[in-house]
């Protein structure tokens, strides 16, 4: 800006000088303008260049001086930095070593703990899956066995049961028909017996009549004997009549004996028939009972097989549910391991930044306070495992809080 005003000032001076010179020489305005342009474009830049050359020379001299001072300062600073770095190394690096000695084993243990948790969880998961496969296999076999039992019995044995039941009913019907025949025969026999008894009754009446006539004849004979002692001929007639009556009585008695024998035979036969019917009835009912019992035993076996299957399936289902619950718990290891490893990662990153700051002569005192650094690291712990590992507590305490629930009122 100064150079521009200087140039303008020179332009004005030169213009005034040329104007006086041209007026003195008696030149016209056109010659004045041409001369002024030539003068300003040729002479003025020369004058300006001369002026700038001097100024540049001064500026260069000043810059050389500044550069010289800068280099001197830089050398001084480098020397100071080197000295301070040496002091830092000598003074602080042992502290860093102490920090590393404290921190590195904790990081290693955290990583080891994560690795251990991962291995344990994977092993447990593998075992649970094997257990589940085994249980499912068992359940499948039990189911297949039971189904084959039930199906076999329902398809084969239930046919048998049906056929046998049908046969049993046929047999029973046959027995019933036989029994009916026997009973019919018994009825007929008893009817015959009734007729025989009626005949016996008639015969008894005949005997009674004969007895009456015999009594009257005997009475007449006694009357006649009393009336005429010499009538021997009359006694002969009476005797003949009594003889005829005796013959009639003998025949009747014979007939009666025969009829009684017939009755006895009929009755014996009826008794035999009744006994046979009773025996057949007994055999039939025993056979039906046995068949029914066998069928009931088979049905009970089928029911038992079904109940056993239900029991096995229920038991296996409970076991599988329990195994799945365990699997869900073990799968959650990933969250805990992830959090532990994230913290180790963050701590290492933080430590790296501290080391970087040491190199830049910053925060050197901060990193030297390794107790505070470890305390801060500890504050970021979220899992029980991290605290246990850090304080080297009893590992058995590890899962005591798992699934613990707190309700806030």
């Amino acid at each position: 800006m100064i150079s521009f005003f200087y140039w303008l000032f020179l332009q004005l001076i030169a213009g005034a000088f040329v104007w006086f010179y041209m007026k003195h020489e008696g030149k016209n305005y056109l010659e004045y303008v041409v001369f002024l342009i030539v003068f300003s474009q040729l002479v003025m830049p020369i004058l300006y260049a001369v002026k700038n050359y001097k100024k540049r020379k001064n500026v260069k001299k000043e810059l050389d001086e500044v550069a010289k001072n800068y280099l001197q300062e830089k050398e001084n600073l480098a020397a100071l930095k080197k000295s301070e770095a040496e002091n830092l190394k000598r003074e602080y690096l042992p502290q860093v070593e102490i920090l590393l000695e404290k921190v590195m084993p904790i990081w290693a243990k955290h990583i080891e703990s994560s690795q251990q948790q991962t291995e344990n969880a994977i092993t447990a998961l593998t075992m649970r899956f094997q257990g589940m496969v085994h249980i499912l296999d068992k359940a499948l076999h039990a189911s297949e066995d039971a189904v084959s039992i039930v199906q076999g019995r329902t398809e084969r044995e239930s046919k048998d049961v049906y056929q046998q039941s049908k046969q049993a009913f046929k047999e029973e019907l046959k027995h019933l028909k036989q029994e009916q025949k026997v009973i019919k025969k018994m009825i007929q026999q008893f009817r015959g017996l009734g007729m025989t008894v009626a005949e016996l009754r008639d015969m008894a009446l005949d005997i009674e009549k004969v007895a009456e006539k015999t009594r009257l004849l005997a009475l007449n004979a006694s009357i006649e004997a009393a009336r005429s002692g010499e009538a021997g001929k009359g006694f002969a007639v009476v005797a003949e009549g009594v003889s005829n009556l005796s013959e009639l009585s003998a025949n009747t008695s014979k007939n009666m004996s025969e009829k009684i024998l017939a009755i006895s035979d009929d009755m014996n036969e009826a008794l035999d028939t009744a006994e046979l019917a009773a025996k057949q009835n007994y055999a039939s009912s025993r056979s039906s009972k046995n068949m029914l019992r066998e069928n009931l035993i088979r049905l009970r076996q089928m029911m038992t097989a079904l109940n056993d299957l239900e029991s096995i399936l229920n038991n296996e289902s409970r076991q599988i549910k329990s195994e799945i619950n365990d699997v869900i718990v073990f799968f959650q290891f990933s969250d805990r391991v992830s959090q532990i490893l994230n913290h180790v990662h963050d701590n290492m990153k933080e430590f790296y930044f501290h080391l970087m700051r040491i190199e830049e002569f910053e925060s050197s005192k901060e990193i030297l306070d390794f107790k505070r650094w470890i305390d801060n690291m500890m504050k970021t712990y979220t899992t029980e495992e991290q605290r246990i590992v850090h304080f080297e507590e009893d590992e058995k305490k590890k899962d005591t809080k798992a699934s613990e629930v707190t309700f806030f009122d």
């Binding site: 073990f330 799968f331 290891f333 990933s334 979220t382 699934s403 613990e404 629930v405 707190t406 806030f408």
Partner: protein
């Protein structure tokens, strides 16, 4: 109609396991992988229960719970019970959770039966 539960956890395994457990128990489950996603859901949808992790990137579960309880954007879900599901078992953290409006605190790993019983109790 099934009751709707929002599970907020940055760990996909945990979200899946909670989902399996609660869907099996007859609930409708929606998953959010961080607090901001959860808040965007809570602006639009009414839930019956929220299950929230504590340690999450960008915004922790306690801050998210406090926002749900206090900010007008989530007024529809202001009274929805919040259950914290976390590896944290520290009493101080629990106190912070309670102050933020949580109703229950479950320490991971959770057992499915216990989670279901807590959910049932909260939804009574």
């Amino acid at each position: 109609m099934k009751q709707k539960i929002l599970i907020v956890d940055d760990d996909s395994t945990i979200r899946s396991l909670v989902n399996i457990t609660l869907v099996g128990a007859g609930y409708d489950v929606v998953e959010a992988d961080d607090a901001f996603t959860a808040l965007s859901y809570l602006k639009k949808t009414k839930f019956n229960l929220i299950i929230m992790d504590v340690n999450m990137p960008n915004m922790d579960g306690i801050t998210c719970s406090a926002k749900i309880k206090n900010e007008a954007d989530y007024v529809e879900n202001k009274d929805v019970p919040i259950v914290m599901l976390t590896v944290e078992g520290d009493d101080e953290m629990k106190a912070r959770g309670k102050q933020a409006g949580a109703k229950a605190w479950i320490i991971k790993p959770f057992m499915p039966d216990i989670l279901i019983s807590v959910v049932q109790k909260m939804l009574k």
